[in-house]
C-alpha cells in the first residue's frame, strides 16, 4: 500500500471536499473527520515501521515510493521515511486534528475583539492542504521534491496569517513570506548546484550522499542549505519574523507554524546539511554552536522581557530551537536523538501553550499579560493545564521536554563542555520566564476583567487533554520514541565520519 | 546610385523623430509618426532596388497596411481624448505616471 501518498492525498481530497460543502458547520466536521482519518492512517503506518531496518543503506527509507516526475532533469516523486521523518510526520498528524478542534471558532469572528468574519471553509481547507504539505516535506527523499514542498508550505501559511490573523496580520505575513523566500532562494541555488556539480543526473537524496567531495564547494553549498534552514528554524539572528508571525497568526496556525513548519529547518540541518556536506558541517560546527548557544540565552532573556503572551511563547521557542540546533551539530548520538525527540516534544508543549493562550485571548480579547491576573481562581482547569504545558517548556523532569533537553545537553557536553554549560544556564532562565508569566496571568487577586472568564469547555478539554497526556507519557516513557529515532540518527551521523566521543568507549567497557 | 535616396530617407526620419519629440499637438505628432514610417518605406524600397529583389517592396506594402490600420485606431483615440479633455495636446494626457 502506498502509505505516504495516501497520507498526502487524503487531506488534499478533504480540502476539496471542505470547500465544496454548503454550511460552515459541516465544513468543520468534514475537516475534523479527514484529519482524524489521517491520524489513524499514520498510526497504522507507524505500527508497520521496523526501526531495525534503519541501519542498512538500502532499507533505510521505508514505505518508499519512487516515480519519475521530470525525467529530463532526473527529478522524482520520491517519498519514504526513516525514524526521524516518521516521528515528525506523526507529530503533524497528531497536531492537525487538535488544531482543527481548537480553531473551531477562530474564523467565525465570534471571539472578544476578534478580527471580522472570514471564509470559514477556506480556513479549514488551508489547514488540510498544509497538513498534506507537512507530511510531504518530511517524507520527500528527492531533494527537488523537498524543495518544492519547502516553498509550497509557505502559501497556505501566508494566507492563514494574512487573512485570519491579528491587527498587524499583513505586516507579519509579508515579513514571514519574505524571510522564508530569501532563505528558499539560496537553497534553490544550492539544490541546482548540487545537481550540476554532483553530476549524477538525479535529485534522489540517497544517491547524492557523498557526491560532493571538494571542500570549498561543500562549504558554499552547505551555506546555501544552512541559511535557508536557519531562517526557517529560526536560529539567532534570523529570528525576528517568528515573534511577529506567531503573535499575529491565529493560535491554531501559530501551533502549526512553530510546532511543525519550523521543525523543517532543524530537520533539514540533520538530514541534508550533515549528510550531504559532512566536511563543511564539521568546518562550520563552531559557528553553528555559537549561534545556537547565543540563541538559547538570548531568546530566554528577551522572552523574560515580553509583555504579550504569544510573543513570549514565540521567544521561548527561539531558545528551544537553539537547543535543537545545538543537539544536531554536537554530532553525538545522544545529542542527535535528543534533538529529534526535542522537535516532537516541543511541538506538544509549545502547542499546548499557544492553544491555551489562544483560549484566553478568545475570551478576553487581549494578549497582553498585564490584562490578566488571578485566572486560577475562576478557571482552575485552564490554569492547571497552562502550568503543565509551561513546566514542560521549562523542561521539568517527568514531562516530555526534559528527556530531550537532558539528552541534548549531555550529548553536547561529551564533545563541547563549555557551550553545554552555557546552554544549561537556559534552564534557570526558562524557570524565570515561564513562572513569571504564570504568576502574572494566573495568580494573585483576580483581575476585574477576568472575573467572568469561563473555564475550559468540553471541546477545549478534548484539545488540551491529548496534548497533556502526550507530554506526560513521553516524559515517563520516552524509550519507544527513542527506539525509533536512534537507528536513524546513528545512520545520519555515520555519514559525517566523526569519531565518537570518549564516553562511548567507557560505556562499552563498563557494561 | 542609391545613396541619395538613403540620405533623403534618413533626413525624413530625423524630421519625423524631432517632430514627435517636440510637437505637442497630437495630430501633428501623429503625422510625424507617419513621416517616419514613410521614411522607412523609402529605405526599404531603395534596398530592394539595390539588392535586385522584391523583399523590401513587399515589406513596404505591409508597412502601408499597418500604418493605415494604425491611423484608424490612433485618430479614433485622439478624437476621443479631444472630446473628453477639450484638448489635443499630448502633455495633457499624462495619466499613466508613477
Amino acid at each position: 500500500m502506498p502509505w505516504l501518498s495516501t497520507l498526502m492525498a487524503v487531506p488534499v481530497l478533504g480540502a476539496v471536499g471542505v470547500s465544496l460543502v454548503k454550511s460552515d458547520r459541516l465544513a468543520k466536521q468534514v475537516a475534523l473527520a479527514v484529519s482524524l482519518a489521517v491520524l489513524a492512517l499514520t498510526l497504522l503506518m507507524t505500527l508497520q515501521f521496523d526501526p531495525s531496518l534503519g541501519a542498512s543503506k538500502e532499507t533505510r527509507f521505508q514505505f518508499a515510493e519512487v516515480y519519475e516526475w521530470i525525467p529530463r532533469f532526473g527529478v522524482h516523486y520520491g517519498v519514504g521515511v526513516d525514524g526521524i521523518a516518521l516521528v515528525l510526520i506523526a507529530l503533524s498528524a497528531v497536531l492537525v486534528p487538535i488544531v482543527i478542534l481548537a480553531s473551531w471558532h477562530d474564523a467565525d469572528g465570534s471571539g472578544a475583539e476578534a478580527p471580522p468574519k472570514r471564509s470559514v471553509k477556506t480556513y479549514f481547507a488551508l489547514l488540510l492542504v498544509l497538513e498534506a504539505m507537512m507530511i510531504g516535506v518530511f517524507a520527500a527523499t528527492d531533494v527537488f521534491l523537498f524543495y518544492v514542498f519547502f516553498e509550497a508550505m509557505l502559501i497556505p501559511m501566508y494566507f492563514m496569517i494574512g487573512s485570519y490573523g491579528g491587527v498587524q496580520r499583513s505586516y507579519a505575513a509579508v515579513k514571514f513570506l519574505l524571510y522564508s523566500l530569501f532563505g528558499g532562494l539560496l537553497m534553490l541555488v544550492a539544490v541546482i548546484a548540487l545537481y550540476v556539480i554532483g553530476d549524477k543526473g538525479t535529485f534522489m537524496f540517497p544517491e547524492l550522499v557523498g557526491v560532493i567531495q571538494d571542500p570549498t564547494t561543500q562549504k558554499w553549498l552547505f551555506l546555501g542549505f544552512f541559511i535557508a534552514f536557519a531562517v526557517k528554524a529560526p536560529l539567532w539572528p534570523f529570528h525576528t519574523w517568528l515573534p511577529d508571525a506567531a503573535a499575529q497568526a491565529p493560535a491554531g496556525a501559530a501551533v502549526l507554524l512553530v510546532g511543525v513548519l519550523d521543525k523543517v529547518g532543524t530537520y533539514g540541518m540533520l538530514r541534508f546539511c550533515l549528510e550531504l556536506f559532512p566536511e563543511a558541517s564539521k568546518f562550520f560546527t563552531p559557528l553553528v554552536i555559537v549561534l545556537a548557544v547565543v540563541g538559547i540565552v538570548y531568546g530566554a532573556i528577551v522572552a523574560i522581557g515580553q509583555t504579550d503572551m504569544k510573543r513570549l511563547i514565540a521567544y521561548t521557542s527561539i531558545s528551544h530551537f537553539g537547543f535543537i540546533a545545538l543537539g544536531v551539530f554536537a554530532m553525538t548520538t545522544d545529542a542527535g536523538a535528543g534533538a529529534t525527540l526535542y522537535m516532537v516534544n516541543h511541538g506538544f508543549s509549545t502547542g499546548a501553550l499557544f492553544l491555551i493562550a489562544g483560549f484566553l485571548i478568545y475570551r478576553r480579547g487581549s494578549g497582553r499579560i498585564a490584562d490578566y491576573g488571578g485566572v486560577q481562581k475562576v478557571a482552575p482547569l485552564m490554569a492547571g493545564t497552562f502550568l503543565i504545558a509551561g513546566l514542560s517548556g521549562l523542561s521539568l523532569p517527568g514531562l516530555s521536554s526534559f528527556v530531550s533537553e537532558f539528552m541534548v545537553l549531555i550529548g553536547t557536553y561529551e564533545r563541547h563542555p563549555v557551550p553545554a554549560i552555557i546552554a544549561t544556564s537556559g534552564v534557570v532562565l526558562a524557570a524565570v520566564y515561564i513562572l513569571w508569566m504564570y504568576q502574572r496571568t494566573m495568580t494573585g487577586p483576580t483581575a476585574e476583567s477576568v472575573k467572568a472568564l469561563p473555564d475550559l469547555n468540553l471541546r477545549e478539554k478534548w484539545v488540551v487533554g491529548p496534548l497533556v497526556a502526550a507530554i506526560i507519557a513521553l516524559g515517563f516513557f520516552p524509550s519507544p520514541a527513542l527506539d525509533v529515532i536512534n537507528p536513524a540518527v546513528d545512520h545520519a551521523l555515520s555519514n559525517v565520519h566523526i569519531n565518537p566521543p570518549a564516553v562511548a568507549e567507557k560505556k562499552g567497557a563498563g557494561q | 546610385m542609391t545613396t541619395h535616396y538613403l540620405v533623403l530617407s534618413a533626413l525624413l526620419f530625423a524630421i519625423g523623430a524631432v517632430g514627435v519629440l517636440s510637437r505637442r499637438n497630437a495630430i501633428v505628432v501623429f503625422m510625424c509618426v507617419e513621416l517616419m514610417l514613410n521614411a522607412c518605406n523609402l529605405a526599404f524600397v531603395t534596398f530592394a532596388r539595390q539588392h535586385g529583389n522584391l523583399d523590401g517592396q513587399l515589406i513596404a506594402f505591409f508597412v502601408m497596411v499597418v500604418a493605415a490600420a494604425e491611423v484608424v485606431i490612433g485618430l479614433a483615440i485622439i478624437v476621443m481624448i479631444f472630446r473628453t479633455r477639450r484638448s489635443a495636446s499630448v502633455d495633457d494626457a499624462n495619466l499613466l505616471k508613477y
Partner: protein, 640 residues
C-alpha cells in the same frame, strides 16, 4: 575504612514491589487532580490511605532488608527502560534509602493526618492533599532511584511540589512570589547538579550508583580515566545542587519566604524531608567526595557558615514560622558539616536528619496549632501565656524544643553532640564554631518558647485561643515521642552507623559515645547561658508589641543577613537591565536592521518610479536614445 557493599539485583518479596511506594501516592495525586470536585468528599482519605500504605511497604521492606545478610543489603529492582543506553528506571533499596523512605512516609503520613484538621475549612483541601501525595511520590523517587537521572527527576519533582504548595494560596501575591522564588533559586542549584551529572557521565560512562561506588571512583582515578580536577568539580557542582535544595549559603534566601505556604507544608517539606535532600545527595555521592578532599572541605565550610547564619537569623524573627525556618537552615548546616566529614560523619548526619525530621516537624505542627488557635496570627509578639489554654500543643512543642537545644538524653543531645565531636576531631575551628551555633540555638529557641507560651497575654482583641482537635494533637504526640527517644536509639551502640555501613561504608574505628565530654559540657553550658539570656530578655521582662529597632546586629539578622538585598543588587537589578537592553536590541537592533533594509529598498524604488512622468515625449525620447545605443553598439561590434 570499610567500603560499601555491592548492589545485587533483587526480585520477589515486598522489596520486589517497593516501587509501589512511589506509584501509589502518584496515583493518588492523579486521581485527586483529574477527579476534580467529585473527589472533594473523600479525597483526603484516599491521600492518607496512599501515604499510609507506602509507609507500611517501607516498614515491611525494612524488616525484609534486616533479614538479609549484612553485605547483601543493597537491593536493586529494575523497572523499565527510560533513556536507552543511558539510564533505566530502577529502585535501590539499601539501608540509606530505606531510612529516608521510613522518615518520609512516616512523618509524611502523620502530617497528612494533621492536615485534615488544619485544612478543614479550606475549600481547596482536595487540591492540597493531591499536592501532598505528589510530594511524597517525588521525594520517594528521589531517595529510591538507583541512578542520578532518576534522582534528578525526583529532585525536581519535589521542587515542583514545593512550588505548588508554597503558592497554594496563590491569590496572595506574596505566596505566588515566594513560590516562584523558591523554584528559581532551586533551579540555580539544579544547574549545578545537572552539570555534575554530565561530568559523571562523560567521565565514567554511567550514571548508575552501582557503577559509581567509592571503589570505582578510586580505580578510575588511578587509571587516569578521570582527573582529580574533574572529581573536585563533580563534588563542588553536587554541593551547589545540595545548597539549592537544602537552603545552604549562598542559595538560602528562598526558605524563609517559603513559609508563605500552609504550615503542614512547612513542616513536611521545608523542615522534615525535602530540604534534607541535599544531605542525602552528599551522602549518596560519598564516593566522589571521599576522592575529592577539596570538595569535602567546602562542604564542611558551607555547613558551618550556614549553621551560624541560620541561627543568627532565627534570633531576630518575630514570625514564629520564620524563626523555625532559620532554625531549620541552621540544623541542616549541622548535617552538611557532618556529611562533609566522610564516613565518620555520615551516620551522624543521617541520625540528626531523622531526629530533626521528628522534632522540627513536631514544632512546626505545634506552631500551626498555635496559629490555628490565634486566627492565623504568626507574630510572636501577639502571643504569650498560651500554655494554660493549649496544654497538649505546648507540652509537645516544649519537648521538641528540649530536643533541638540538646537537653541531655533527648534526641538532639545525642545526634548534635555526635556531630560536634566528629567535627572537633577533624578540625577544632569547625568544632568550636559548631558549639557556638548550639549556644545560639539555645537562645533563639528559648526566646520562641517564652514569647509564645509564657509571659503576659498580648493577644489581639478578637483572639480566643483553644486547643486544636485531636486529629491535630495526636500527630503532635507521636512526633514528640520520637523526639524524645529516637536519638538514643540511633546513636547508642552506633546502631545507625552499623546499619548504614553496607550503603555508605564506615570508619575503621567506631566512635564511642562519651557522656559529658569536654565539648559536650561546653555545649551544655553555652546552651544554658543562651536560654538564661532569653529568659531575662523575653521571659522575665515584658515583650513590647512592636519590635524595638535594636542594634545593627538585630537589623542584620532581621533582614536575613541582607541575603535578599545582595541577590537583588547582584542578580535581579542587573538581570532586569539586561532584559530591557536585550528587548530593545531585538526590536531596534536586529529587527531594526531588517526593517531598515526593507525601508531602504522601498525608498529607492519610490525615487526610481519618478522617472515615469506620463509624458509621451519623454518615453519617445528614451526609446530613441535606446535605439541609438543599440545601433551604436551594433556598429561597434560590427567593426571589431
Amino acid at each position: 575504612m570499610e567500603s560499601p557493599a555491592e548492589i545485587i539485583q533483587h526480585s520477589g518479596g515486598v522489596i520486589g514491589v517497593s516501587w509501589l511506594m512511589i506509584a501509589l501516592p502518584l496515583l493518588g495525586a492523579a486521581i485527586l487532580l483529574l477527579g476534580g470536585r467529585r473527589t472533594d468528599r473523600w479525597g483526603h482519605r484516599l491521600a492518607i490511605g496512599m501515604s499510609v500504605t507506602a509507609f507500611l511497604i517501607a516498614v515491611i521492606s525494612f524488616f525484609e532488608l534486616l533479614g538479609l545478610p549484612e553485605d547483601e543489603r543493597r537491593r536493586a529492582i529494575a523497572l523499565y527502560r527510560f533513556i536507552p543506553g543511558m539510564a533505566d528506571m530502577g529502585v535501590l533499596i539499601d539501608p540509606l534509602s530505606i531510612s529516608f523512605a521510613l522518615l518520609i512516609t512516616g512523618v509524611g503520613s502523620l502530617i497528612h493526618i494533621y492536615s485534615i484538621g488544619y485544612m478543614a475549612h479550606d475549600p481547596d483541601r482536595r487540591r492540597f492533599f493531591s499536592y501532598l501525595n505528589l510530594f511524597v511520590a517525588a521525594m520517594l523517587l528521589l531517595v529510591l532511584a538507583d541512578n542520578y537521572v532518576g534522582l534528578f527527576i525526583g529532585w525536581e519533582g519535589v521542587g515542583l511540589a514545593s512550588y505548588l504548595l508554597i503558592g497554594f494560596w496563590q491569590f496572595k501575591p506574596s505566596a505566588a512570589t515566594a513560590a516562584k522564588k523558591a523554584f528559581i533559586v532551586n533551579r540555580v542549584g539544579d544547574f549545578g547538579l545537572l552539570i555534575a551529572i554530565f561530568t559523571v557521565w562523560t567521565g565514567f560512562g554511567s550514571v548508575a550508583f552501582d557503577k559509581l561506588s567509592g571503589t570505582a571512583v578510586g580505580e578510575a582515578l588511578k587509571t587516569g580515566q578521570v582527573s582529580q580536577g574533574s572529581l573536585t568539580a563533580i563534588g563542588l557542582l553536587l554541593l551547589l545542587g545540595a545548597c539549592g535544595k537544602s537552603a545552604q549559603l549562598p542559595l538560602q534566601s528562598w526558605l524563609l519566604d517559603a513559609m508563605e505556604g500552609p504550615t503542614p507544608v512547612s513542616a513536611l517539606i521545608h523542615a522534615a524531608t525535602m530540604v534534607t535532600a541535599g544531605v542525602y545527595l552528599v551522602v549518596r555521592s560519598g564516593g566522589f567526595f571521599e576522592a575529592a578532599p577539596t570538595a569535602q572541605l567546602v562542604v564542611t565550610i558551607v555547613g558551618v557558615v550556614t549553621l551560624l547564619a541560620g541561627a543568627i537569623i532565627g534570633c531576630a524573627k518575630d514570625d514564629i514560622k520564620k524563626g523555625l525556618a532559620g532554625s531549620t537552615m541552621s540544623q541542616i548546616g549541622y548535617m552538611m558539616l557532618a556529611a562533609g566529614l566522610g564516613p565518620v560523619g555520615y551516620a551522624f548526619a543521617i541520625a540528626h536528619l531523622i531526629t530533626h525530621g521528628f522534632f522540627k516537624a513536631n514544632m512546626f505542627l505545634g506552631a500551626g496549632s498555635v496559629m490555628h488557635a490565634m486566627n492565623d496570627e504568626v507574630d510572636m509578639r501577639r502571643y504569650g501565656g498560651l500554655y494554660p489554654v493549649m496544654k497538649v500543643t505546648a507540652i509537645t512543642f516544649i519537648i521538641g524544643y528540649l530536643a533541638i537545644i540538646g537537653f541531655p538524653l533527648l534526641s538532639g543531645y545525642f545526634t548534635k553532640d555526635g556531630i560536634i565531636e566528629a567535627a572537633m576531631e577533624h578540625s577544632s575551628v569547625l568544632g568550636w564554631l559548631a558549639v557556638l551555633g548550639a549556644g545560639i540555638t539555645g537562645f533563639y529557641m528559648s526566646r520562641m518558647i517564652f514569647m509564645t507560651f509564657f509571659g503576659g497575654r498580648r493577644w489581639a482583641d478578637d483572639a480566643h485561643p483553644h486547643e486544636s482537635p485531636s486529629v491535630m494533637t495526636v500527630p503532635l504526640i507521636v512526633l514528640s515521642v520520637g523526639s524524645v527517644f529516637l536519638g538514643a536509639f540511633l546513636i547508642l551502640g552506633n546502631r545507625l552507623m552499623l546499619f548504614l555501613a553496607p550503603a555508605v561504608g564506615r570508619p575503621e574505628e567506631l566512635p564511642a559515645f562519651h557522656a559529658f565530654s569536654g565539648p559536650g559540657l561546653a555545649t551544655l553550658v553555652l546552651v544554658a547561658a543562651g536560654a538564661a539570656f532569653a529568659w531575662v530578655r523575653y521571659g522575665a521582662a515584658e515583650v513590647p508589641l512592636v519590635a524595638p529597632r535594636g542594634s545593627f546586629l538585630t537589623a542584620f539578622a532581621r533582614r536575613d543577613l541582607y541575603g535578599d538585598a545582595l541577590n537583588e543588587a547582584l542578580f535581579m537589578r542587573p538581570g532586569q537591565w539586561l532584559t530591557r537592553i536585550a528587548v530593545f536590541f531585538d526590536n531596534r537592533g536586529i529587527d531594526g536592521l531588517v526593517n531598515g533594509l526593507a525601508a531602504a529598498i522601498g525608498g529607492t524604488s519610490g525615487r526610481l518610479r519618478r522617472v515615469q512622468t506620463g509624458y509621451v515625449r519623454s518615453y519617445a525620447l528614451s526609446i530613441l536614445f535606446g535605439a541609438a545605443v543599440v545601433v551604436g553598439a551594433l556598429l561597434y561590434v560590427g567593426n571589431m
